[in-house]
Amino acid sequence: MENDTVSKYSVSFGLSLALSSVANALLVIAKEKSPAVQAGMQKLTGHHWITHVAIILVLFAAFGWLFANAKGGQGLTMPVNRLIKTIVAGVLTAGFVIVGFYLIAD
């Protein structure tokens, strides 16, 4: 028998994926435009890129956990169609921001 709902972790980590991707792009701009931010990230782990990866992974885990435990532990719910659109939009937006930034702004 067919059903049309996905697990709460599919929704929560899907939303987290979209959000973390956009955060990834924004962090690129922040560290490239602000030497202080880049120096701070460098200082934290010894290399700005390691700090960058660590921040995004922590955000991905934290948002995913938070969304999965929302609504009294039931987790956020959303139609799968909208979840797919959110993930694709998040990844595409972040991708275009990163590519556009290094192509034009930097």
Binding site: M1, E2, N3, D4, T5, V6, S7, Y9, S10, F13, G14, L17, S20, S21, N24, A25, V28, G46, H47, W49, I50, H52, V53, I56, L57, F60, V80, N81, L83, I84, I87, V88, V91, A94, G95, I98, V99, Y102, L103, D106
Partner: protein
């Protein structure tokens, strides 16, 4: 030895792409029989991506500064200024997508059409982004090569 680290990074990257395409094709024909295989292959894709990032990240932090200096003095400085800068940040999204794949593959894909659609989308984005990043890597390697060739001519 450093070349081996770099090639291992590329090898695991390609392995992630191939396994994800496997997941994509298997999901198009998902039933109770291939469900365990889809789940194992999606976990393998995530593992390969993590290993690729660990090897690539180690090489990038320890050995890349020397290559970067060569590239920037050569005729293709954009190999670093655009391609490496873009690659090192796009790859983080690839890591997130590959990590997410086993989570969505844990749904009952044989009985759930919407879950299948979700897996298909994620499994389609990974190879596209992965191939783009592999191409970036090739251009970066070419950036080093043309810089060294220019030095000798």
């Amino acid at each position: 030895m450093t070349e081996m680290i770099l090639m291992t990074h590329v090898l695991f990257g390609v392995a992630c792409i191939v396994t994800t395409v496997w997941v994509l094709v298997d999901t198009l024909n998902a039933d109770e029989m291939n469900l365990p295989r889809i789940r194992w292959m999606s976990r393998a894709a995530a593992l390969f991506m993590w290993l690729s990032l660990l090897f690539g990240g180690y090489w990038y932090v320890i050995y890349y500064p020397a290559d970067k200096a060569i590239i920037l003095k050569g005729p293709w400085p954009f190999a670093h200024e655009y391609f490496m800068e873009t690659k090192e940040h796009l790859v983080i999204m690839l890591l997130l997508l590959a990590t997410y794949l086993p989570i969505v593959a844990s749904n009952n894909l044989a009985a759930n059409k919407e879950a299948r659609r979700l897996v298909l989308w994620v499994a389609a984005i990974i190879p596209l982004l992965g191939l783009m990043i592999e191409g970036h890597g090739a251009i970066i390697a070419m950036g080093v090569k043309v810089a060294l060739l220019a030095k000798h001519i």
